[in-house]
């Protein structure tokens, strides 16, 4: 359906595409991925001649596209961009009907197409068709952006980070919708992203690019199993760390640098330690390293004496959870108890770490917006 033969492109002295060759079969969902500047967008834009390569040939449907009028070519290739680009001066129906209008479809045909497409993404024609883009939310706008690309039923749709500017919830919904649309309409889709999760979720085939070259072209499973180099492995790892929140355990979120002391340490040493570390409680361990409880600065004050060992003070109970416990359950405990943290214990009852409210917030942020470090 789409074939690249030794395609080269330079911007000034920078080689952006270095001898790219690949083949995309009809009906395939291909995701181009790679670090910024790897040439993925250039590759995409070469397909509808928004960019013209210096060397090599690109065939769409067996035709050398350098010999096709670009305006005519683009009417047969749907195009969705990250900034959405719905024309603000046109209604939703006019936006969707843009390409069909160029292709001289009549009004009732355009209305029918608009209606059918909007139904597919559960948007009511009567409610939205005559609104202007600014009256819609970002997610709704990009739905229309996708529909506009599909309106003249082009066999190929190009998508340039279409969901990159959307919030994670909306993005997930649109990803699902695009998979459904693709299954139903059997389009050949070329999709650019820098988000490996998105690639793994959507792609039949992933093309991983770096420095204008294809590093690996494989199915998601193959790529997961045998990443061609460390960079790909790195991309995969980053994505899998945040991929499925339901599988994460308490151990994934705990801080391991929690300060603990044996019972035999003197009270004075312990208060010094708390002062130095700016903390108001300590984890107390038995001689066999098992967890005994916590002692706060209040308990020390109540005790009254600074001589003797910390073991003389009865430790308080604090909520605990097992290292292997589902992170959500630990969070629930922490949230519902009055304690400041959860003590995470290993199987042998030794201290593994603590989960504080701060680490909980960081963890949630990570899952929502990716690696926060």
């Amino acid at each position: 359906m789409i074939r690249f033969e030794s395609v080269k492109k330079k911007f000034g002295d920078t080689v952006v595409l270095n001898n790219i060759s690949f083949n995309i079969e009809p009906g395939e969902f291909v995701v181009l991925i790679g670090p910024s500047g790897c040439g993925k967008t250039t590759t995409l834009k070469s397909i509808n001649r928004l960019i013209t390569p210096e060397e090599g040939k690109i065939f769409v449907n067996g035709q050398d596209i350098s010999k096709v009028n670009p305006v005519k070519l683009r009417r047969k290739i749907g195009y969705v961009i990250q900034q959405i680009g719905l024309f603000p001066n046109m209604t939703i129906e006019q936006n969707i009907g843009l390409v069909p209008k160029r292709l001289k479809y009549n009004k009732s045909e355009i209305k029918k197409i608009t209606k059918d497409l909007m139904e597919m993404v559960d948007m009511s024609y009567d409610e939205y068709a005559h609104k202007y883009p600014t009256e819609l939310s970002g997610g709704q706008q990009q739905r229309i952006g996708v529909l506009r690309a599909l309106a003249a039923s082009p066999p190929i749709v190009l998508m340039d980070e279409p969901f990159g500017a959307l919030d994670p919830m909306t993005r997930a919904t649109l990803q699902e919708e695009i998979v459904k649309l693709q299954k139903k309409l059997k389009k050949t889709i070329v999709f650019v992203t820098h988000d490996m999760n998105e690639a793994l979720d959507l792609a039949d085939k992933i093309i991983f690019m770096e420095h204008g070259e294809i590093v690996q072209m494989a199915t998601p499973d193959e790529m997961l199993a045998n990443p061609a180099n460390d960079l790909i492995r790195d991309f995969m790892r980053k994505s899998s760390a945040t991929s499925d929140a339901s599988n994460l355990t308490a151990a994934d979120f705990m801080r391991t640098n929690a300060i603990s002391v044996y019972k035999k340490r003197s009270i004075r040493e312990c208060t010094d330690l708390m002062a130095r570390q700016h903390i108001d409680s300590l984890l107390i361990k038995n001689e066999d390293d098992t967890y005994a409880g916590i002692i706060t600065i209040k308990d020390v004050k109540k005790h009254g004496k600074s001589s003797g060992s910390i073991g003389e003070i009865t430790p308080n109970e604090n909520i605990t959870s097992d290292a292997g416990e589902n992170a959500k359950d630990s969070f629930d405990k922490l949230y519902n108890s009055g304690d400041n943290y959860v003590v995470v214990l290993n199987n042998d009852k030794t201290i593994a770490g603590i989960i504080s409210k701060t680490s909980m917030a960081t963890a949630m942020a990570d899952t929502l917006w990716g690696d926060m470090q």
Binding site: L50, V71, R74, R75, Y79, I81, I84, G85
Partner: protein, 210 residues
């Protein structure tokens, strides 16, 4: 005898002549400016040099320009109309040019990607999106031209300027006001009419943003 009995007929003629000068020269200036603005926006790398040069002409006082044209063309309405049209060009030109350049690249890319030809992109996307800016330019041009048209009287070609000049020469405040007030009202009415025009021309989807 009241003022209107004496000057009424002359005042109405003066208003008509003044309005004629304004409408003709703004129309000519607007068309020229729109075409120039579109052409310049296609070549922004040269326009960056051309625009400042054009803006220098803008700084030549109108009185000098009309004077020079008068020497070449003589005392005919064309002298006034050409001079005013030249001055009417600049605000529209500048606003057309910047309005077109301010169209976000994503719309141009989307238009290209949808298989729109450059002309279709211009007429269906770029000009509609630049229309608020162009209408603002037109309003500025019109208001300026109403006041510049006063200069027509300087070379004896009538308009409301006649009253102002005679009033100044004869130290007659009534005459000065008889020229100044109608031209101020004319500026206000024309600018309101342009607002109405804008309501038809500026696409609905753009107005809701504000």
């Amino acid at each position: 005898m009241s003022f209107f009995e004496t000057y009424g007929d002359r005042l109405i003629t003066a208003i008509q002549v003044h309005l004629f000068y304004v409408l003709t020269s703004v129309t000519i200036g607007f068309v020229v400016a729109l075409i120039l603005g579109i052409l310049l926006s296609r070549i922004p790398q040269y326009a960056k040099i051309i625009m400042p040069i054009l803006s220098i002409f803008q700084t030549i006082p109108g009185i000098v320009f009309i004077g020079i044209l008068f020497l070449y063309l003589g005392m005919i309405p064309a002298t006034v109309i050409i001079a005013l049209a030249v001055y009417a060009i600049f605000p529209v030109l500048k606003n057309t040019y910047t309005g077109l350049l301010d169209v976000k690249p994503e719309y141009i890319e989307a238009a290209k990607g949808c298989g729109m030809s450059p002309l279709q992109t211009l007429f269906e996307v770029e000009l509609p999106l630049a229309s608020p800016s162009i209408i603002t330019g037109l309003r500025m041009s019109t208001i300026y031209t109403v006041s510049w048209a006063v200069l027509a009287a300087m070379i004896g070609l009538g308009g409301l300027g006649e009253f102002i000049y005679i009033g100044i020469a004869s130290n007659n405040n009534q005459l000065i006001l008889a020229g100044a007030i109608p031209s101020a009202i004319m500026a206000i009415i024309l600018s309101l009419l342009i607002d109405v025009l804008g309501r038809f021309i500026i696409p609905k989807g753009l107005k809701e943003v504000k």
